[in-house]
Symmetry: C2
Subunit: 243 residues, 2 copies
């Protein structure tokens, strides 16, 4: 049974202001919730699920607080068009300061504003073993439900930070900084790398001039046809796959 006050708590977490205030976010669907439980971080605070799902996931749930709810109750609290068995209240990750960049690939996102793009980029980073993403303050909020959904569970593994990008880049010494642009060096001519910072920009404006100044090497995906640009998540996938 779902009490009224809990429904309200869940609904308010749809807003960034309340997510920040409470340090919580909402994750939905079997895929995302089980990846968060499996990560063993202990971040999942409370689970609301249908009877069937609870039965199938007893072991995974361990001592997590669970409330069995009806399909109708799930519809009331879900933000999805098609509610999917389970919803969890999750504690935000402690991600105040990015780790070292040496010896690793780190992504930088300068004002990537579409939640679906950010979520897809987190999923791509996880595929290629990239462990951290540093975002400008005007990039989409990683705890936005559309972002959480689009990560398909990778949010449990890839660390996402919000920083002042030019300031942060200036502190990263002895490491190559690459920028994805439309008029740089053909990526297919560049040697494979195992460390470096790769910067991607806004969906329509690209990388801001202030951030671009910090880059050592400009990269471009060679074009054979006529499209003006590529979707930013697709560009991240292609560049990570080449480097």
């Amino acid at each position: 049974m779902l009490v009224k006050s809990k429904i309200k708590d869940i609904q308010t977490l749809g807003q960034k202001k309340f997510r920040e205030q409470e340090g919580l976010f909402i994750a939905e669907g079997p895929k995302v919730v089980s990846e968060l439980l499996e990560s063993g971080s202990g971040n999942v605070k409370e689970v609301f699920a249908l009877k069937d799902w609870i039965g199938e996931n007893k072991k995974l749930l361990g001592k997590t607080t669970v409330t069995e709810i009806s399909e109708k109750e799930l519809e009331r609290i879900s933000g999805l068009t098609t509610p999917n068995k389970v919803l969890a209240i999750v504690q935000q990750f402690d991600r105040r300061t990015p780790g070292a960049t040496k010896g690793k690939i780190t992504l930088v996102l300068d004002a990537v504003q579409d939640p679906g793009n950010l979520g897809t980029i987190i999923r791509i980073a996880d595929w290629f073993g990239v462990e951290q993403i540093v975002c400008s303050a005007d990039t989409a909020d990683v705890y936005n439900s559309k972002v959480v959904q689009a990560t398909m569970g990778s949010i449990a593994r890839v660390k996402v930070f919000y920083m002042d990008i030019p300031v942060w880049l200036a502190e990263q010494h002895d490491i190559q900084k690459y920028a994805a642009v439309l008029d740089g060096t053909d990526i297919t001519t560049i040697k494979k790398i195992s460390e470096g910072i790769i910067i991607f920009g806004n969906e329509s404006r690209g990388i801001s001039a202030e951030v671009l100044k910090c880059a050592d090497i400009k990269l471009t995906i060679p074009k054979k046809g006529k499209a003006e640009s590529l979707n930013v998540a697709v560009a991240v996938g292609i560049i990570l796959s080449h480097l």
Copy 2:
């Protein structure tokens, strides 16, 4: 001024049934509409736009029928959250039979159901100079407004067909058929190609068994991290960029 009957005509084109019946579709926003006008195909039947946009695009419009509308009228007919200056009624392209596959790269989509993914794939195809995409009947409708929007104008250049995939593949002789799967040959070990058919599958189920049987070579994007899969549009981008 917009007459009532025209508003109704435009609204009914939101449904696939009426789009097919009339052989028309709706395109919105300066980017998509100008690419369609520039393509010179003569498919743009009627344009509804704000005064400013009409003034700036007199030359591009040529003899196209144009109706000047107010922002309020545009809001009434637009399917976008943020209506954007111009909307056009466009004739569907005559695309009953795909062209030859020899000497070219052709994409095959087996049940790609998300309109955003289909639109993004069309945009990627256009970037890499791929001229035609053959889709199964249960792939998203190319004239769905979300698809048109996500192509960013590339819908004017890339030809999209709907066929019975196993039947069509059986007719394609003397050409390699590649399938993107999770357990195939590492794409980075494969030689570059300039002709071939590349098959991509549904967002969650992948390529159906019946279609997979028709493939000569299975391809996989190498994984270093833990994500279970990649977004299909991202996979198209990575594979086209490698091959």
